[in-house]
């Protein structure tokens, strides 16, 4: 059914249609509307049987999900940012135990400095944990990916994280085709756990493993991700048959035919990039886009297949490895290590800084003219940065960076208004 609906509420509806049996909630912006809406659905009895548990921390949220999943319950939770970090020990544990928990990550920056706005630092902090990570471009995607997430998680018995951009998607009201219960039931079979705490067939889950078998257990986690990579295209095709529109998959291409320059990105940013690319195409520029829907497992071969004919690849991402550079860019580079292609890594939109079509456009023009640095921080205010570097050089006690920069930014704004007004 097509409806105008907030992203969070659409996701809550989709999750409810998947009949989760235990939902645990701990509030953190911008995830709150999702669990609030689920709480209502449980209280009104629309989602039943289901236990909605208000926990005392994200660490407990994931731990409750672990206990529920190991007892054979379909478990769901949602978090973001600091919350994800607070539960990180349980994140790794859920993956290590192979429990098919589904979690929404309403992507948000990580402090310090504390910042509630969107970027992908949180997802990147757990990219090596063993969780499958799917990224939604639109709210329709977010809805569809959640339904596929339960199916995938339970088929391979691994946890799946659906990443949707905080505020940009979670709080955006737009048209979404919400599926019917019949469609979801046809797509998502009853949960049959691979391992379960059962009084009639007692097993020990979470036993200690030493060097004699640890590598093998870890390898099997990797093997499951490879298995996921094989299953995801099939799940996506089956989804389309039942729900009538395409969704999911490993990667999604746009204007890739004959593209000299290809932009790689994840999440809602793809919309802005596609708009900029459309404009460039009208001017005869051969630019295409490759959206990464499945970030873990990383689709190395598919990325290679789509990019190997390009002249240059520009990876734009909302997170970076401090002291190193782009994270997605590094994975893309691994895909392309057999070919010689100019690769540019762009870090953009940190802590919610708007990524405008104009910025993307001028960035791509620079790339096309081979004027771009290998690593670029889009729209970085170099003046602010230089001022602080000078301050640190001049005084050992230069003070807290965040405070200094905010003051400088205010002063700059003030002097601009003085000048202009």
């Amino acid at each position: 059914m097509l409806e105008q609906i907030e992203g969070s509420r659409a996701v809550a509806k989709a999750v409810a249609l998947c009949r989760p049996e235990v939902v645990c909630a701990y509030p953190i912006s911008p995830q709150t509307h999702i669990v609030e809406a689920l709480g209502v659905l449980v209280k009104t009895g629309e989602l039943s049987p289901c236990e909605f548990i208000n926990v005392e921390s994200e660490f407990a949220a994931m731990s409750v999900a672990i206990g529920a999943s190991a007892t054979g319950g379909r478990a769901y939770t949602a978090t973001a940012s600091q919350g994800l970090l607070f539960m990180i020990e349980a994140i790794y544990n859920a993956a290590g135990l192979g429990l098919p928990i589904v979690m929404t990550l309403a992507n948000r920056a990580i402090g310090a400095p504390i910042n509630i706005w969107n970027d992908h630092s949180d997802a990147m902090a757990v990219r090596d944990s063993g969780w499958i990570q799917l990224f939604a471009e639109t709210n329709q995607d977010a809805v569809d990916l959640h339904i596929q997430a339960f199916r995938l998680a339970e088929e391979i018995s691994m946890p799946v994280m659906v990443c949707m951009d905080g505020f940009i998607l979670t709080h955006a009201v737009e048209e979404v085709d919400t599926p019917s219960q019949g469609q979801v039931d046809a797509f998502l079979p009853k949960f049959v756990p691979r391992q379960v705490l059962d009084v009639d067939d007692p097993v020990s889950i979470g036993a200690m493993v030493g060097p004699e078998a640890f590598s093998e257990v870890r390898y099997l986690a990797h093997a499951k991700q490879l298995q996921a990579k094989e299953k995801i295209p099939g799940i996506s095709r089956e989804f389309e048959l039942i729900f009538g529109h395409p969704a999911g998959g490993l990667v999604n291409g746009y204007r890739l035919e004959n593209a000299d320059t290809v932009v790689v990105a994840m999440g809602s940013l793809l919309g802005t990039i596609k708009d900029a690319v459309d404009d460039l195409a009208e001017e005869g520029k051969k630019v295409g886009v490759l959206g990464i829907t499945t970030f873990r497992p990383f689709p190395l071969e598919e990325v290679y297949a789509y990019l190997s004919e390009a002249r240059r690849v520009v990876t734009i991402e909302k997170a970076f490895a401090v002291g190193m550079g782009g994270i997605l860019a590094t994975d893309v580079a691994t895909s392309l290590n057999r070919v010689r292609i100019d690769q540019y890594s762009v870090i953009a939109g940190l802590g919610g800084r708007a990524i405008t079509k104009a910025s993307v456009r001028s960035l791509l023009e620079d790339a096309i003219d081979d004027r771009l640095e290998p690593l670029t921080f889009l729209d970085l205010d170099h003046e602010l940065v230089e001022r602080e570097i000078t301050r640190m050089r001049e005084s050992k006690r230069s003070g807290p960076t965040a405070e200094n920069l905010i003051r400088d930014a205010q002063l700059k704004k003030f002097s601009r208004t003085q000048r202009d007004g």
Binding site: I53, G67, A68, A70, N93, V199, S204
Partner: protein, 340 residues
Amino acid sequence: MTFQPIKFYQTGSFVVGNRLLGENLRTVQSDIARSDSLTLGHRACQGCGEALGARYALDAAMRATGNKILATNATGCLEVFTTPYPETSWQIPWLHSVFGNTAAVATGMAAALRVKGREDIRVVAQAGDGGTEDIGFGCLSGMFERNDDVLFICYDNQAYMNTGVQRSGATPPAVRTATTEAVGSHPGNVFGQGKNLPQIAMAHEIPYVATATVAELHDLEAKVEKAMSMRGARYLHILVPCPLGWGSDPSATIKIARLAKETGLFPVFEAESGEVTGVSKIRHRLPVESYLSEQRRYAHLFKPVENREVLDRIQAMADRNVRRFGLLEEEVANNTPREQ
């Protein structure tokens, strides 16, 4: 009531012997049909009180529920010594997640059972004192506050044993641990409030809180049984001597546990909805030295010279417990065997 207050105590130990009791009063452990939840082949040290406590508690819980128990376990000695790959000593469904989340994991287990309409199956969560009082405290308090249907058992050996005997929030004053060495002008652990988890649990007004030791099998089993007859959050705090960490003789585990109670240092009581409802009286009051001198973790209090000041302070703690909980027998005792 017309019964005669007979006390079937063994001389010296003051234990009520199984053989002196009617069949129906005998312990689960003496029953040939006991479940053996935690079976042999585990790798605990000789004389490990934690292994003993877990075995007593879980077998009693199994009997009380018709063998319908799911257990979860924090990281710690109990988890490590029962499951070195590829073996497991658990004969019951058992889950280990991480160190600090056991109460929350148990909440999830109970929630899944409730959704599935399997409330006949009960959940028992277990942790050491570190996994209970320190790192696991947030999750535990949350579980209490929500009154989830979980029995949480703390095996209190008064330190982080699994990592090599470091101080925890449950380590008593003056104790030597690897992080409170017996050096300097104030050897051993500092004097402070410590964390009295049973009382903190009572402050949550949960249906049932009890303490026990591995010395009193009847008492411990009866408390487990009582806990399993109730719904909601229940907390059982069992004192489990650790020969390795306490520097005690493996054969003295039961004796030391008994001395902890008989000196008044470890009050054994039960409480319902925040009110103390029963106290195990001291049968034969002894000075704290009788307990402390059995353990090398207190050796610096006796050698090279006796540290009277510290011993007096520890005695004062015991005296306070005696007053606070009314641990001494009334002159005219009228106790049932249960209230030993």
